[in-house]
Each structure stands twice: as C-alpha cells, then as structure tokens.
Amino acid sequence: MNSNYNYPDSRGHFGQFGGMYVGETLMPAVLELDEARKKYMQDESFKSELSELLKKFVGRPSPVYLASHLSEYAGGANIYLKREDLVHTGAHKINNTVGQGLLAKYMNKRKLIAETGAGQHGVATATVAALLGMECKVFMGREDIKRQKPNVDRMRLMGAEVIQVDGGTGTLKDAMNAALRYWTTAVEDTFYVIGTVAGPHPYPILVRDFQKVIGEEARRQMLEETGRLPDSIVACIGGGSNAMGIFYPFLPDEDVELVGVEAAGRGIETGEHAASLSHGSVGILHGSKSYVLQDEYGQINEAYSVSAGLDYPGVGPEHAILKEISRAKYETITDSEAMDAFCLLSEKEGIIPALESSHAISYAVKYAPKLGKGKNMLVNLSGRGDKDLTSAISILGM
C-alpha cells in the first residue's frame, strides 16, 4: 500500500471527508456498529460463515471474461469484464448485504431496513433477510417503484415490506431520508443496511470491506489470465460501492489507473445529471462530508440519471479523497451514450448490462483506442440489465 494512503482515521475521516454527521439519537448506534465491525470482521467464525455464504449462496468468485467482440469493435485495449452480473440477485449489491445481514445476526438484531434506488440493493437486502429469517422493510421512492417494478415484485415475493416514499422527486435521496427517519424511531432493535460506500462512519469502510472481494478476485484472475495487472480499471459511480470494491485492492498498485464513471444524465450543461464528484462541491449529506450537488446556500439539488441506481446527489467520501490525491480519475457519460452501450454489449457479447454498468461500458469503449492495443482494461460489470428492460425498451422505441 502506498505509505501516504492511511485513510480513514479512527472516526472515519478521509482527510477532510467522511466523518459521523448524524443526530445524537443515532450516534450510539453508529458507534456500536463500529465496535461490532472491528470485533466480528476479525472473528474466525464470522469470517468462515461469510466466506461459505459468498461461495455457496452468492456464487463467488464471479468470472473475469475477455469481451473480444467488444474489444475488436472498440479497436484498442482488450476489454475484460468482471462479471458481477452473474452473482445471485444479479448485481454486486449482494456481497455487501450478505455481510451486513450476517453482522446484524452476530449483533442479535433481527430487523433490517434498507433504502433502494434501482431496487438492486433492496432486492439484495430482502434476499439476505429471507436467508437469515429476519424482518425487512425497504424504503423506495415513488418514481423508482414505477421505474423498477420487477425488483419491487421480487422484494415482496421474498417477504419484504416495500415502503413507498413520496417526498422530493421520489428517488434514492428521498428513500435514504425516509430510511434515516425510520431508523431514528426504531434504532434500538433495527439494523440499517446501507447499500453504498456513503453514510456516516463506519458505513463507507464497512461497505468497502464487504465489496473489496470483487477487486481481490479480479486481481488474482487478471494475473492468472494475462500474467500481469490490468492497465486500467473502469467502474460506474452513483454512491460508489462497486467502484470502491474493485478499486480498493489495487490502490497500492500505482501503475494501475482507476477510473470512476459518473452519470452526466441529459448533459452536464443542462444541470440534469448526477455527477457529484466531477461537478459538485464539498458538503455534508446523509452523515458524511463529501462531494454533493448543492446550491450556494447548501440546499441539496436533485440528481438525475436514466439509471435509477446512479440517481444520487452525493458520493462516498473515499472517492472524494481518491480524487483529491489524484489516485483515481472521474469521468462522465450521458444517458444517450449509456443507452448506446446498453445495446452494444447486448449485441456484441450477448450480455445485457444494467443501465448503471452501461456507463462504465460506454467509457471503456471510448477509452480503449486511447489506451491502445496490447493494453488491458478491466470493467466492473456491476449488474445485469433485466431490471431495466421495460424502461430501456420504451426509451429505444422498440
């Protein structure tokens, strides 16, 4: 590990970012979670139970696949895909919810709550609640319930209660507000499963530590397959959990370039986007300090993306520090570019990517010629696109 990289500190600060900005009622709960994290992440029985579940329930390791037709089309670097779309429930979110669900079990908490945008984190939380015999409530914005109906059905089928959130624009930010409010009233017996590397400490590192399995596997797999580390790693960013998961084990390898791709929505210039790292400013939202979309008086702006999972006005604080120290770079892709990539990967490889992951694919295809022939690029294919079919087909006019 780069000796300069010793983030976060004991209270979850990544330089000026991160921290624990929550009301006093919730403080004891996040401190308790931090203690439990330190205790059980080192505990042999916890570790072996988690690793069994990841192997036999989640289906890990997920393969790394050389997308040769896509690479040929792009005409440059070889594009490899880390196939998180192949794990149980169809997205990387399950790695984290299995981890947090198990942690809840070790902490003797039987009630789980979660917020969800695209529904993938909600489905993954409902799944682990069913697996471990726990109660589960999932908060979801009105608009996202419309956009992601198949995921709502899946959650209900597994016994979770989906709570519609009508406030704001009815998207992920509002779902998170509602979940935090509910948690404040039920904090004494309820475990809040946060789905991304945001929120108050210890969530950003808790989620990263449950997601870093992606990067650890990919590192091994790329060495086996190509005999060396990839030259560039590309992942999409909403809150940033799949990106943090694949980036983290490569942080010490300074020759490996890390690229996060944010949603430019209808175009940065329209103001309708979700690019908080590239076009936001430093602020405090949902428990931590990071880049957020806000006005000059600190009111949070609505984010927009065709992809419900990227539609969030904040981003995990560890990405903020990676940007500040230039260890990762952050780029943007518009809705229409992502839609093109959605079709392209489907046609070239027979893989329908999630609209979130389509942002990473789009950037990879644009970037492959610049990176050049003989170079290897690894793209985190964070989820599959079945959940997006209804909206995608209507956008494509098929």
Partner: protein, 270 residues
C-alpha cells in the same frame, strides 16, 4: 453575562421555567416569519430557536419537513435568516438560537457564519447533525471570534446516549443542554414523564447547565407534566402546525394564533 444565562437566572429567581420555541425561518415568508417571531416574544416566549430550512431534514417529521419546503419555496436562505435575526434584535432582548442542519452552515463558511450571526445578535447555534465528534472545527473558529458566552454551541442529549457519552456531552455543552425526550423524530407524540424526569436527573449529575426538554410536547398539559424536571421546554411542531392550519387566513391571523399558542404553553411554566 450572556443573554442565555441572564434569561435562565431571571426565570430561576421567579421559580419559572423557560419556554423555547422553534419555528422554521422564512415559513411561510420572511415577512410572515418575522411577524410570528414578534408575536411569540410579545406573548412570553423566553428563547427563540430560529430554524434554517434544509432540503433534506432527516431528523424531522412531516410537519417540519413541510414548513422547510414552504420556507425554501419562499426563498429563505441563511443570509436572509441572519438579517431576520438582526431585525428581531432591534426590538427584543431574548436569546435567539440558530437551529440548523450543518450543511447550510458549512457551505456558508463557518467563519462568515459566526461573524455575521454574532453581529446580528444571535446567541448560539444548535446543529442537529454535528455530534461532539465533529464539533472541533466549528468550535476552534468560534473561539477565534468570541467566547461561548457570546455564541454558544448547544449540545443535544438523547435517550439512547449512554452514561459515558453523556458525561462528555455535558462537559462540551454550552448555554444549555437540549434533552431529547424520546427516541424518534420531531412532531410525533407520546411522552413518558417518568422517564423524562429520570433522564433529566441523569444529565444534572454531570452539569450545572440548564436542561431544556424537547420532542413530543404538544399541549399545556404535556408542558405541565414534565417541566419540573428541567429548566425549560422546547416546542416546535405545535407552532408549525398552528401556522399551517391558518396559512390561508393571512399574516395577521397566523401570527396572532401562534402568539396565543405561546401564551397557552407558557401558562403552566410561570
């Protein structure tokens, strides 16, 4: 002596308890809000908590979510709220506490906020999502400009706060301790006077600061039941409900109505 200290001393001498009232600044308009605050002071309010509206008020219930949205629609922002404070200060000597989520203060700049707020005659800040762990930056900038006598950083204690943490909070506390009565968000009912009194006694073992109890106090009966346990009570959603109910009747009516609610809530505290 600070205005906060002076207020509690005076009340103590009269064997009375403080009524602290929260309103969302700028709800329904800046002018309307000024009229409401004036009526509140005129009807016996001891401390004003002037709430800075925030787009994402995660610690608040429906009533204050709606009042924040109305205030933002009406164009309220921190700069205008500081001006409101100055305007009220021309006429009133009661303490005014700025009550906010941290982001609007952070974005404005701690230094600029502290300078302008003191200049306007504000007596302190209560930032709901700035626990003791994250207070140092703010405190050190405050210390450069003034003492806690001039501008207090009010701390909250919750029912979930354990003994060790309570001790730290009390040590860091300034002005008064804001004691949260119940686990939950603002504006939801259900008070257990016995547990409130027990919690207040626990706090008093660690500090001589006045204790004001808030959350879930929605009637003069509630006030009467718990006021003995501390030095004052905080009422918020009840005033916002009164504003909301009388919105379409105009400024004269809703401000008068809030004034009357203040009088009713203050009666059992005298």
């Amino acid at each position: 002596m600070s205005r906060i200290k002076e207020t509690f001393n005076k009340l103590k001498n009269k064997n009375a308890k403080a009524l602290a009232g929260f309103i969302t600044a700028g709800d329904p308009t800046i002018e309307g809000s000024l009229a409401i605050a004036s009526e509140m002071f005129d009807n016996g309010l001891d401390i004003l908590e002037l709430g800075v509206p925030f787009s994402d008020p995660t610690a608040d219930g429906d009533v204050i979510q709606r009042s924040s949205a109305r205030a933002l629609m009406a164009g309220a922002n921190l700069s205008k709220i500081i001006q409101m404070t100055a305007k009220l200060r021309e006429k009133y000597n009661q303490p005014i506490i700025i009550f906010s989520y941290l982001n609007p203060i952070y974005r404005y700049g701690y230094e600029r906020f502290i300078r302008e707020a003191i200049e306007a005659g504000a007596d302190g800040l209560l930032a709901v999502d700035m626990p003791i762990e994250e207070s140092e930056d703010f405190k050190s900038i405050r210390n450069k400009h003034s003492s806690q006598e001039d501008f207090a950083l009010i701390k909250l204690a919750a029912p979930t706060t354990n003994e060790a943490r309570l001790e730290t909070i009390c040590r860091a506390g300034e002005g008064f301790i804001y004691m949260i009565n119940r686990v939950g968000i603002t504006g939801t009912g259900g008070l257990d006077p016995e547990s409130v009194a027990k919690h207040a006694r626990q706090i008093k073992q660690h500090t001589d600061l006045p204790v004001c109890m808030g959350f879930g106090i929605s009637s003069p009966e509630d006030a009467e039941k718990i006021a003995f346990a501390g030095e004052g009570i905080v009422v918020g959603s009840l005033f916002e409900k009164t504003i909301e109910k009388n919105l379409d009747k105009g400024k004269e009516v809703y401000s008068k109505q809030v004034g009357e609610t203040v009088r009713a809530m203050k009666a059992p505290l005298r």
